[in-house]
Amino acid sequence: MGVMSKEQSQLLSKIATGNGHGEDSPYFDGWKAYDENPYHPTNNPHGVIQMGLAENQLTADLVEEWVMSNPEASICTPEGVTDFKAIANFQDYHGLPEFRKGVAKFMAKSRGNRVKFEAERIVMSGGATGAHEVTTFCLADPGDAFLVPTPYYPGFDRDLRWRTGVQLVPVKCESSNNFKLTKQALEDAYDKARQDNIRVKGLLITNPSNPLGTILDRATLRTIVKFINDKRIHLVCDEIYAATVFSHPGFISIAEILEEETDMECDRDLVHIVYSLSKDMGFPGFRVGIIYSYNDKVVQCARKMSSFGLVSSQTQHLLASMLNDDEFVGRFLAESAKRLGERYRVFTKGLGQVGIKCLPSNAGLFLWMDLRRLLKKATFEAEMELWRVIIHEVKINVSPGASFHCSEPGWFRVCYANMDDEAVKVSLQRIHTFVLKNKDVVVPDKKRCWQDSLRLSLIKNRRFDDIIMSPHSPIPHSPLVNATN
């Protein structure tokens, strides 16, 4: 879109002409590089590999096989067409009862059946994108704010703010404690908002976290519940990655906290879950978003708003069948966790071989890579420079931490579940090649902690730049020193 004329800006609304859609974020810039030169094993083997897309492609075969073996689940097949008329006609915003039941069962099963979900509370929406916007419309007025721990999914800037007029207030999490959410950080953010005369209406957490890939432990969840009850604010839990947990510790849903932590006071009217099948089942194209609220009024209001983004009845019908197939669901969840775990291991091992560390994680479709040592300076400009090198030289699209509002430069999210094993090999190969080309630059594993403590002591006395640039420094040069843009 070019420069807008004055007339155009008066012709359209502020929402339409502003940039609240968030697409000017660097999160999306890497896509352009990918779109212009996408990797393909045979047609374009030197193209950019897309590792900025948190998709789950590892279990498509399982779903596909189920669909082919269950023709009656489709309203287009001879076996299923008798349902065509009724389904094509069905636009009740309560959704197909069997669909809601299936979703409730799936949600319970992916939480080890430790909790149950009531089908009556399941509200549909246009993907989790739609779910977040509707939830915000129900809970907050223009000018109100939600607290969000950083780093967070860039889409929230659009989903929670754009058309609702609501603000986001970051709750800073830091690498010093592995980005854990602390009571102090929550209180600080809340107090600052109050000082700035911003009315905080709620806290939004993503658990498992995007981009960290970590889950919240019980203690943190309890802290959160106590915090929101004390402040009388809402808690929105985005559990979109719930079934991507592939190893210990196990996932704890907010639903479990409500059921089990009965020693704690919690007003259920404040608790809401956003969910979707886009990540756990890998079909973002089907637009299945879910709002699950413990607050009856929110359920009612969200249900009315769901008119603006109902799930296609054709899709509801297919999924009702699939999700009520207990044998399939059990097998799917187990196999999915297994494949994600394997992919995680392959990738972290590959990165580790060239001295690249990641935040230890056990969920999600991505890794939170620590590339701080490769930065020229500990600045976001340096992060952008490094990112451009990764895109143009290494030819991998990853997402810079700045786009996730990370408070520290040098972290990158790299997705690993949206490609086949071959592409994984190629991407690791490229990373190896790049790092080894600058091999005096990267320190192998065993020397690293010695180097780290040396650096720390050096930093105390010298400017970081000096350390990096000095030819006699034991600290490796950042590849950026030699890089050409």
């Binding site: 879109m1 807008m4 155009q8 008066q10 012709l11 359209l12 502020k14 929402i15 339409a16 002409t17 859609h21 492609q57 498509a60 669909v67 082919m68 023709p71 097949t77 001879p78 299923g80 067409v81 065509f84 008329k85 094509a88 006609n89 069905f90 636009q91 915003y93 309560h94 246009g126 993907g127 739609g130 419309f137 129900c138 809970l139 989903d159 754009w162 058309r163 404040l270 886009s278 890998g282 079909f283 973002p284 194209g285 637009r287 607050n295 009024k297 929110v298 009612q300 249900r303 009315k304 008119s307 603006f308 983004g309 109902l310 799930v311 296609s312 009845s313 054709q314 899709t315 297919l318």
Partner: protein
């Protein structure tokens, strides 16, 4: 501090309207030929159930589609992952071709100017978010579809100011009514951002005349920030003359000078819910030549995309030109036949309808059955029709009609037999009540009615999805 938002606690969603209240009665006591022959017949639902067999037979002949295959290869994975808000190119192409065909190919549409949305409900709201904001108003001719109160106003903060149309000229838009609406808006300190018309009209079932188009174009032409939105969701249901004229055709016919003034302020809303009878699939579209509107609306469509599975199915179906040609003409034939049945049946009971040539309903004149020329009397009559006659029809007041006594009666959402039963009931009711007194039982009706309204507005009741 209030726990929920203002939007959550107000009733701008419009669901407390009487339009939706009759549903409750229908749901408690639905007609079934065999199981419940005395139940209430649903005539408040503007659905098109007349042509499903055509769709089903197409499916039977196209097994590739049902198997998620293209040229024999499985494309399930690609579909499952496809969430590009630009939409499936094949589907958009098929959709614009279908829209052109409905308009006799007198206009063509560019798929790059089309935005897909989750139903027309979402299309209308999205368009509002793009062209207006709190403090703005759109003018709408009355009577209009009750859902607009929710779709255009609820979350956007935009107001609707009615252009009052009356039976004196068959509810056509007049220059004075347009001017009056504009002044009403100004008096309320609202900035008028444009006019929204539904063409063919819901609930009237009529198509806009060229004269009305001239008025609308003249009205917005020189007001540089005003838009004209044409909701053409019923465009494929035009079954007799005069033939349908889309706003896009009007644009095409204008002199270049005049067209230049307004081409980027005219927008069309469409959907497959009525023409193809697929409301469950949530397929809506915004069409605009204004790039900025398309760009903004495309991004907003993230909040309500069309399922890729559905796009794929309909891309295949609508690309089959032989099929679409046959479907469009057969569908219109059946609608015409059905409308005639309703009109004749009502005629036999001495009830007239507004002359209509489109839609899935008739606009029925029951003013002569009112006890008094008031909306209270209209409500009384409506309750009699629901409870005594056993028909759920929509009272004109729910459509913001300025005159009491008009009702919208749908004819395409039931079998022929059921329609016949409905007509017999109407005839009997009219015959029985000739000479019956007004007001005798109205007092207790009024009391139980307001109790009922009270109960209903505090509950989350079903299904106000129809038009």
């Amino acid at each position: 501090m209030r726990l929920l938002s203002r939007k959550a606690t107000c009733n701008t969603h419009g669901q407390d309207s009487s339009y939706f209240l009759g549903w409750e009665e229908y749901e408690k006591n639905p007609y079934d030929k065999v199981k419940n022959p005395n139940g209430i017949i649903q005539m408040g639902l503007a659905e098109n159930q007349l042509s499903f067999d055509l769709l089903e037979s197409w499916l039977a002949k196209n097994p590739d589609v049902s198997g998620f295959k293209r040229d024999g290869k499985s494309i399930f994975r690609e579909l499952a992952l496809f969430q590009d808000y630009h939409g499936l190119p094949l589907f958009k192409k098929a959709l614009v071709d279908f829209m052109a065909e409905i308009r006799g190919n007198k206009v063509t549409f560019d798929p790059n100017h089309m935005v897909l949305t989750a139903g027309a409900t979402s299309a209308n709201e999205t368009l509002m978010f793009c062209v207006a904001e709190e403090g703005d108003a759109f003018l709408l001719p009355t009577p209009y579809y009750p859902g607009f109160d929710r779709d255009l106003k609820w979350r956007t903060g935009v107001e609707i100011v009615p252009i009052q149309c009356t039976s004196s000229n068959n509810f056509r838009i007049t220059e004075s009514a347009l001017e009056q609406a504009y002044q009403d808006a100004r008096k309320r300190n609202l900035r008028v951002k444009g006019v929204l018309v539904t063409n063919p009209s819901n609930p009237l079932g009529t198509t806009l005349s060229r004269n009305e188009f001239d008025l609308l174009v003249d009205f917005i032409k020189d007001k540089e920030t005003m838009h004209l939105i044409s909701d053409e969701i019923y465009s494929g249901t035009v079954f007799s003359s005069p033939s349908f004229v889309s706003v896009m055709e009007i644009l095409k016919e204008m002199t270049p000078n005049d067209a230049a003034k307004i081409w980027n302020r005219v927008h069309v809303v469409y959907s497959l819910s009525k023409d193809l009878g697929l409301p469950g699939f949530r397929v809506g579209a915004i069409y605009s030549e204004n790039d900025a509107v398309v760009a903004a609306a495309t991004k907003m469509s993230s909040f309500g995309l069309v399922s890729s599975q559905t796009q794929y199915l309909l891309a295949a179906m609508l690309s089959d030109n032989k099929f679409t040609k046959k479907y469009i003409s057969e569908n219109q034939k059946r609608l015409r036949r059905r409308q005639r049945m309703l009109v004749t049946g009502l005629q036999k009971a001495g009830i007239k309808c507004l002359k209509s040539n489109a839609g899935l309903f008739c606009w029925v004149d029951m003013r002569h059955l009112l006890c008094s020329n008031t909306f209270e009397a209209e409500m009384e009559l409506w309750k009699k029709i629901v409870y005594q006659v056993g028909l759920n029809i929509s009272p004109g007041s729910s459509c913001h009609c300025s005159e009491p006594g008009w009702f919208r009666v749908c004819f395409a959402n039931m079998s022929q037999d059921t329609l016949n039963v409905a007509m017999k009931r109407v005839k009997n009711f009219v015959t029985d009540s000739t000479g019956a007194e007004c007001g005798s039982s109205s007092a207790c009706f009024t009391k139980s009615f307001s109790n009922w309204v009270f109960r209903l507005s505090s509950r989350d009741h079903r299904a106000p999805e129809e038009r």
